[in-house]
Symmetry: C2
Subunit: 257 residues, 2 copies
């Protein structure tokens, strides 16, 4: 029932181009490449979009690639190349019209339309996500908060009531939900994921510290707080080793003296 598209081809290994993400759809299959936008560029488009919104709020109508690049924290050459994948939306000798470019990027990403989202697992993190204004303000609408713990059900969090996980299928069908967020503990994440996929969800944002296996055609992006910290720790350790052969604690004290 209500199964998602395309489960052919067997389980694909879960890995993508960038750090925390993974796509299972075939990168370059028989299908025509169309005007395929590089994954690295796609990951930066939302940053450009936010920068443009900030500029627009300041009343700036036009900007150069240099200005926008600075606002987005990237190289201007990279910015121009990224934008060139979308089309020629700038004017040579002048720059980019902020409102126009903003709309074009939003349309390309797909945030001009409204995306219904369900969040599963309303613990500490789920609460924070439910209340996070960045979701709702950027084309995403949380349509349901689900939790399997009856003690939590009925509680009101950010204008929504927590409902039973068993209502998942009905909610997905009713709202046409394509995006699900998993904020459960790690042990239940895979089960939840399977249910989401079976219900028709084809994009999943996973906060649980587990590797999810999904059928082909389903996208998973992972956000893992502890992994981010560990990466920082690695570099921090190297800094201490390289800069000062002594104790790093001591080094800072000496420098401040």
């Amino acid at each position: 029932m209500t199964s998602a598209r395309s489960n052919r081809n067997g389980a694909a290994p879960q890995e993508g181009a960038d750090g925390g993400a993974s796509r299972s759809t075939p990168a370059a299959s028989t299908r025509a490449p169309e005007r395929g936008i590089p994954e690295a560029t796609v990951a930066r488009l939302p940053i450009y979009l936010r920068a443009l919104i900030t500029l627009a709020e300041r009343g700036i109508a036009t900007c150069s690639s240099e200005e926008l690049a600075t606002a987005a924290g990237v190289n201007s050459a990279k910015l121009r190349k990224d934008l060139s994948y979308l089309g020629s939306y700038g004017t040579r000798g002048v720059g980019y019209d902020v409102e126009y470019l903003r709309y074009q990027i939003a349309r390309e990403i797909g945030v001009t339309q409204d995306w219904p989202v369900v969040i599963v697992g309303i613990g500490n993190l789920g609460h924070a996500l439910a209340n996070y204004s960045g979701f709702t303000s950027r084309g995403f609408r949380i349509v349901a908060l689900l939790d399997s713990d009856p003690a939590r059900q009925g509680e009101e969090v950010g204008e929504l009531n927590i409902r039973s996980f068993s209502e998942l299928e009905a909610i997905v069908d009713e709202h046409g939900v394509a995006i699900g967020v998993i904020a459960t503990p790690a042990p239940s994440a895979q089960q939840v994921c399977d249910r989401l996929v079976a219900a028709g969800v084809t994009s999943i944002l996973n906060f649980a510290p587990t590797v999810l296996s999904v059928p082909d055609g389903v996208d998973v992006r992972k956000v893992d707080l502890s992994i981010e910290l560990q990466i920082l720790a690695y570099h921090e350790q190297r800094k201490a080793m390289n800069g000062a052969p002594q104790d790093p604690e001591l080094a800072r004290v000496v420098e401040s003296a």
Copy 2:
């Protein structure tokens, strides 16, 4: 005072190899390459570590690269190449000793030691982070929760009291804090970041939806929930366009019939 090391070379653009991260330290400067581990590999080491811990908990003493790769959700060739940057910790014809490899990776990342961490901005997200067990269980110790809002100060969150942001410098000095987490609203993030850097913090995990500019020698990693969703939305939109020229909502209904 208490300034961090190395502000030479001017401000570096904030961008890294992978999606959400950025390092400002020179990638390949005059310094010898030592046994430099590629950034992409570093980002995967924590995943391998977690997979090894899971295997160890199941009582598995030895595993092949194929098994470990599956558990980590990556290609076995990639896994072997990644591990080869650390050294030759496997045995040909046999595989890897789970406990031994686990220790080696933990040591390489630096999570055998204890990293003191401060969290700034104890709103919804800050609460969730303070209660997140994944932090404390993997070599990180939250030593302080800071917020500039007096109304929040004194509140107890996960065995710690929220303290005033003005105590930052004293806390950093006392505990030798090198890693800071920013969970404030976007407008105050840059100010907080500057204070952290000035106090001696050299690694920052940023949850605020803003581009932070930091001096050279300071690492910033960014976690942006809304950006992750937008990337999913982009792919979701493409799926709908390619798979079914009709209305995506309709397509699912038809398939389920």
